[in-house]
């Protein structure tokens, strides 16, 4: 595949996995948790690097999962101690992120791991680092990892679809039916963490939040069915990723920035024109309602 092809492929995989995960972040009212985890996985990656002296996929994943779970757990713990939930989120993730930044700046700073790269990502580097896979041939490492994550996330969502639905909609009922609500919560935190870390190379810690939240928030405006919302959100993510690449190529600017910008455009379009909850649709309904009186 061409250099451009790999970049678009990678970006699309980011859009797809983030789009799917984002739906549940929105519905569970945990958008801010995505922001937090996207930052704390940096500490996970740095720690994994310190321990193993390697920057490969599997170490990063394990580090990210631990960091993500630690974040979720500490936020919960501070909250039970009486700190406001959003305040405890702010305290935990900035502190863990800061530790990551300090570690990078002092002991592990090298070409592969620097703060700017971690925050903004650099998708243009991705096609250079390749690995050989049987049958498929040479594949960029980050892309292969993303493809694996997309498959894993999709499997988890589809296999436990009704459990995700009920624990999201009515956790009290779910618990009374014997569904392990707490386990599902932390499993979800794992999914957010692996999705975030896999998207890290491509879009960085800040832009990944846009990919997680905005396509899902847009899809929410178009449909009243969870399954459709998942499909739409994934599609919006892919569309924004591809559109973002071409915007960046056209204006000769940052790809991750353009992708995040494209998600904003998708949302703006949905917000204005969605037939169910769009601004014009509700304006129309209002007008019709007024005419009746």
């Amino acid at each position: 595949m061409t250099y451009t092809g790999w970049i678009i492929m990678t970006a699309s995989l980011v859009g797809l996995s983030c789009g799917i995960i984002g739906v549940f972040l929105i519905l569970r009212k945990m958008a801010m948790m995505a922001d937090a985890i996207s930052h704390t996985v940096l500490l996970g990656i740095v720690t994994a690097y310190l321990v193993t002296k390697e920057l490969s996929g599997i170490h990063m994943l394990v580090g990210a999962i631990i960091a993500g779970l630690l974040t979720a757990f500490m936020v919960q713990w501070l909250h039970t101690l009486g700190v406001q939930e959003h305040a405890s989120l702010g305290i935990v993730f900035t502190t863990l992120f800061a530790i990551g930044v300090i570690l990078i700046a002092t002991s592990v700073g090298n070409a592969h791991l620097d703060v700017k790269h971690a925050l903004m990502g650099e998708i243009t580097f991705i096609p250079w680092e390749r690995m050989a896979l049987p049958v498929i041939g040479e594949v960029p490492k980050a892309t292969a990892l993303l493809a694996l994550i997309v498959m894993f996330v999709t499997f988890c969502i589809v296999a436990f679809y009704k459990e995700w639905k009920i624990t999201t909609f009515d956790p009290a009922l779910a618990a009374s039916l014997g569904i392990p609500v707490v386990f599902m919560h932390y499993l979800f935190m794992c999914l957010v963490s692996v999705t975030t870390v896999a998207s890290f190379d491509a879009v960085g810690a800040i832009m990944v939040v846009a990919m997680l939240i905005t396509p899902a928030a847009s899809a929410y405006l178009w449909t009243d069915r969870l399954s459709i919302m998942l499909l739409l959100s994934g599609s919006f993510g892919v569309i924004a990723a591809i559109a973002g690449y071409y915007i960046a190529a056209f204006m000769d600017t940052s790809i991750s920035g353009s992708m995040a910008f494209a998600t904003g455009l998708v949302f703006l379009f949905s917000f204005l024109f969605s037939p169910k909850h769009g601004l014009f649709a509700s304006r129309g309904k209002l007008l019709k309602g007024n005419l009746k009186f």
Partner: protein
């Protein structure tokens, strides 16, 4: 013939460091319809959640059907407060009712058409068949509560816990819900209901449990629903409406 289906012993629970419930002990016989009444903050909802282990208990024991919650989960149905869920969730009424069957569907499986049919019949019973495919945010408060009741019915439990099912519903819904609860009782099910309207207690429930952080009184409505107990539970501040032997206001019939 009336067997003890729920036994609570010395139960205590707290929110943060504030004790909400202490030394709560009572027994519920099968086939009874019990109203749990008490002022705001008396711990009515917390009691339900603590019994069902949805809220941690500090101490005490709860046994269901002479056994543990874990073993008896399938025989217990819980209806949370309507306000505890997000009604903007992307789903329809039928789907919400189907959720009541998820415990029976099992892991890795989808709800079958038989499950869907059962859910639809429950909606029909609650007079909601026409709204089966309606997005849940477009239902009125009363309709949402009926959906919740339908969801409880499909669980086919033997012991039901209902947290304020009559809060903020219209008169027709209140009638429909109370009729359903009476039917459940008549086929031998046991129902506990958190209730907030003292005026209707004598008409709706055969047993009443006065709660204010602990059990003030519990027994047959005829015997324990007295002014004295009401005053003890509500701190004597209650303003008496109407005459000596009526309460001035009447329940919907």
């Amino acid at each position: 013939m009336s067997d003890i289906v729920l036994k609570v012993g010395n139960l205590a629970a707290a929110y943060r460091k504030n004790t909400v419930l202490e030394n709560v002990s009572f027994e519920i016989n099968s086939g009874s319809l019990t109203g749990i009444v008490g002022p705001n903050g008396a711990g009515k909802s917390t009691l339900m959640k603590t019994m069902l282990n949805l809220h941690p208990s500090l101490q005490g024991t709860v046994s269901f059907f002479h056994s543990s919650l874990e073993k008896m989960k399938k025989r217990i149905g819980y209806v949370p407060q309507r306000g505890s869920v997000d009604w903007d969730f992307p789903t329809d009424a039928l789907d919400v009712v189907t959720m009541g069957l998820y415990g029976q569907v099992g892991w890795f499986k989808r709800a079958s058409s038989a499950h869907k049919r059962k859910a639809y019949e429950a909606l029909e019973k609650m007079g909601m068949a026409d709204y089966a495919n309606r997005q849940i945010s477009q239902l009125s408060g009363g309709q949402q509560q009926r959906v919740f009741l339908a969801r409880a019915l499909v669980q086919e439990a033997d012991l039901y816990f209902m947290d304020e099912p009559l809060a903020g519903v219209d008169a027709a819904t209140e009638r429909a819900i109370m009729k359903t609860l009476q039917e459940l009782k008549s086929i031998g099910k046991t129902v506990l209901v958190v209730h907030h309207d003292l005026q209707t207690v004598t008409d709706y429930y055969d047993h009443v449990l006065f709660l204010n952080r602990t059990v003030i009184a519990h027994g047959k409505t005829k015997e324990v629903f007295t002014r004295n107990n009401i005053a003890k539970t509500y701190g004597g501040d209650i303003r008496w409406l109407g005459e000596e032997n009526g309460y001035g206001l009447y329940p919907v019939k």
